[in-house]
């Protein structure tokens, strides 16, 4: 309890002490304020009444004016490729400013600059399927498409539109319009159409719609380009498979067409080949026929010669036959004549022979009678006649050894005696040989 009282006492003491401090502070502050007021009044007085003070004040006024002009910028520059629209706020008059310097009365004139250069708009928030504002397809799938739209402001219509159009036409008009059209168009097509099949058509449709729509706001759309289409990953995979399948199917179709064409080509080639072969065969046949005809012609020219040759041979044979016949009959005739002549001659010869024999016989018998008579008168006549007849037929011949000797005895030095066995002398052997030879030759002569 005492503790509580103590605390309360302490608090009261502290409160009393604070109040004292505050009173002190207030007193000091009021004295300071009165001091400052007095100082300021004296300073103003100095500025007004003192020479130096008036100069300082004039300098401050000039500095303030220069600063005001710098801040307000009454002259500005219109760059090349720009057009400036100056609106008078007081009169509402609109002036078009081309490139160069332009004068602006501050707080009276308002200047808007518009670029005349081509500008592009690419909705950067919709290029990927995962971006914050992707496009939607008819199936409700999010897709990103890189769209580039090139546009330019119509310089003719800028003055007319400047009054009612916002400052940034691109951001405030073009972009929302394009965005809306794009979204609407993509939402009318399937992903596949956007991705592959209808791309060009979409592009054309977009151009066709955007052109008049933006032209009303003085914007000329130059090109609409669709770039990369980004699909959700899973869909993309499936799509690619599908496309690959389609591609395969397409490929197969082309392959089949190609095959078909190849078949047709082969057929045509075969046909051409057949025709060529037929022609070649025909040509070869013709050549053969011509060659055969030429050969037949050559044969035809040779045949008359052959015929002539045969005729010639026939005539020659006939002539030969006739000549042979003539010759044969002549020969036969000649033979006959010869035979007759010969018979005649023989007969005559025989007669002559008979006559001769007759005469010779008579003469011989007469001779014999005369000889007989002579011999009977002289008998020695016989020996004489014999000796006469033999006298011319005796001759000496040295004969070679008959037998017992070797043919080359002389060369081998064989004794001479051995060859003549029983012989006494050389002379007697020779005589023997002569006699024997004589006898031989006589015998031979008689045989002859």
């Amino acid at each position: 309890m005492s503790e509580q009282n103590q605390n309360e006492t302490q608090q009261q003491e502290q409160r009393k002490h604070g109040e004292e401090k505050r009173g002190e502070f207030l007193r000091r502050m009021s004295s300071l304020a009165s001091e400052a007021t007095r100082g300021m009044v004296s300073r103003v007085r100095w500025l007004i009444y003192a020479e130096r003070g008036r100069r300082v004040m004039a300098g401050l006024a000039v500095t303030g004016m220069v600063a005001g002009v710098v801040v307000a910028q009454p002259v500005c520059m219109i760059e090349p490729g720009e057009v400036g629209i100056r609106v008078n706020r007081l009169t509402g008059k609109v002036a078009e400013l081309r490139e160069g310097w332009a004068l602006l009365v501050p707080q009276v004139h308002r200047l808007s600059r518009y670029s005349l250069k081509d500008q592009t708009y690419q909705p950067t928030r919709s290029t990927r399927a995962t971006d914050p504002a992707p496009f939607q397809s008819v199936e409700g799938l999010s897709i990103g498409v890189e769209v580039t739209i090139r546009y330019v402001l119509d310089p003719e219509r800028i003055p007319a539109l400047a009054a009612r159009l916002p400052e940034d036409i691109g951001r405030d008009i073009v972009e929302p319009v394009i965005d809306g059209v794009l979204r609407r168009h993509f939402a009318q097509h399937t992903v596949r159409e956007i991705f592959s099949t209808h791309r060009v058509k979409i592009q054309q449709d977009l151009s066709a719609e955007l052109l008049p729509l933006l032209a009303a706001d003085g914007v000329i759309v130059r090109t609409v380009t669709l770039g990369n289409v980004d699909l959700p990953q899973q869909y993309r995979t499936g799509m690619e498979v599908l496309l690959a399948e389609e591609l395969n199917a397409e490929k197969m179709r082309y392959t089949l067409e190609l095959k078909d064409k190849q078949v047709k080509q082969s057929a045509l080639e075969a046909e051409a080949d057949k025709v060529r072969r037929e022609k070649a065969a025909e040509a070869a046949g013709n050549e053969e026929i011509i060659a055969a005809k030429a050969k037949a012609e050559a044969m035809r020219h040779v045949l008359p010669f052959k015929e002539k040759e045969i005729e010639q041979r026939r005539l020659e044979a006939e002539a030969a036959k006739v000549s042979r016949l003539t010759q044969a009959s002549a020969e036969a005739e000649a033979h006959r004549i010869e035979a007759a002549g010969e018979a005649d001659a023989r007969r005559k010869l025989a007669e002559a022979d008979a006559y001769r024999v007759d005469v010779t016989g008579k003469a011989a018998s007469e001779q014999l009678a005369r000889d007989a008579e002579l011999i009977s008168r002289n008998p020695l006549l016989i020996q004489k006649t014999l000796a006469d007849k033999l006298s011319d037929k005796i001759q000496v011949i040295i004969a070679p050894p008959q037998a017992g000797g070797f043919i080359a005895g002389n060369l081998l030095g064989q004794p001479q005696e051995a060859r003549y066995a029983g012989g006494s002398s050389k002379g007697s052997s020779l005589a023997q040989a002569a006699v024997s030879e004589n006898t031989d030759s006589d015998t031979t002569g008689s045989e002859e």
Binding site: E288, I289, I290, A294, E297, A298, M299
Partner: protein
Amino acid sequence: MLATLVAIALVVQDQAPLRAASQDSAPRQATLWQGEWLEVRGERQGFIQVYDHRRERPGYVREQQVRVVHLDEASVPRLQAVVEFLEDTPGAEALGIGYAAALLRAVPASQVGPELFDALGSMADRLARRATSHRSNDASLAAHLDVAASYGVKLVSFEREGRTRVCYDGEAFRRVLALGGSPEMRLRAALALTRPECIDPAMNPLERQALDEWRSTVLEQVDAGRLPAYLANRLHLRRAEVHAALSYQLSRRGEAQRGAKASERAVASLASVLKAELAEEDKSAYAAAAVRVGASRFASEPASEQPGAGPVLALSKGQPGETCLRLADAKAPGSALFERCTYGLVWPGSVRRSAQGSAVAVAVQLLEGWTELWVFHQEGEGWVLDALAPAATEPSLGYVELAGFSPDGSRVLVAREALVEGRIKSSFQVLKRDTLLPEKSADSPGALGAFQRWSSADWRGGTVAMR
């Protein structure tokens, strides 16, 4: 083991028995001929145990009747020596082909040269000649042909002039030409490949032309300058023959310019032959080539203008392949004195007219090697045409050409050359113009005074009859 695997036995004797066992009394399985290829499987009691893949049977054969060859690089020199020896041994063609096959198997591929194929081709060619020759007592011939065929040596046969002719297809020679080789080898190969007697007589004209063009390219592959003169002569003769044939075929198909070129080449090739170096065995070929060239030499003669008045010969086309000759008076070109069509080739460069204008002669080539002389001559008021054939034989090879007219126009000089009974027969004749029957005839132009006096300069300058 490997060595035994690659060992083979080549039969070196004809009629060697393949026995069922290694005894002489064992039954004979087959009769083997020289050159046959057997696989060696072992050796037993003086017999070699072999397997005959051709007949698909094993057996034994006496050691002396076969030569065992190891198909490795070490045996290459030995095999080469044997092949070189057998290359020129008549009657051993089958054995030689067998050895060549073994050598081909043993030698590394990089070392296979044209010599081996030259030897192979020579032996195959000789075997073909042996099969064609008249000798009928060659009992082993059929067996040798079989052995050669078993090695892939292809011999083709066809009938020509009533006889069967066997020819080698020339595979080895083609390889010789492809691989290079000495000039002699190339010549041998080219001559064997372009042999005229080995051309199939059943070929149609188009095939024949294609073949002749190929033959000319083959002959172009041989360089005549690097050959001895007597061998170069053979090449020139073959070229002359081929180009003469080509000239006719090309002209026949309407390619007159190429035909004229071929004809020029034929004449030039014939002129390249050195007569002093002509071998005895080539003389008949020389005469035959000259006749072929003579038959088609007018292809390269330009059409000559005939000066003076007289009948003019005009040529025009008739039926396909037909040429029509129309003799017209120069003064009245519209009226024809005589008209005649032919399937032969009429050579415009050969038209000659007698000085009096009473006879016009033209060469007409009816076949590849057969040229006739057609003489238009006046008989009374009209004109007649007489065709002079080279000889009164089956038209095959021959030509007759105009050598000139007598100054009074009453005699016609002709030169004839033709193949009669296998020999080329030349004759130079003086014919009466009105009958065209020979008045005088001689084997050489020098033997006839009329020829020396009256034969025309252009004939003497262009003819091949006075070779």
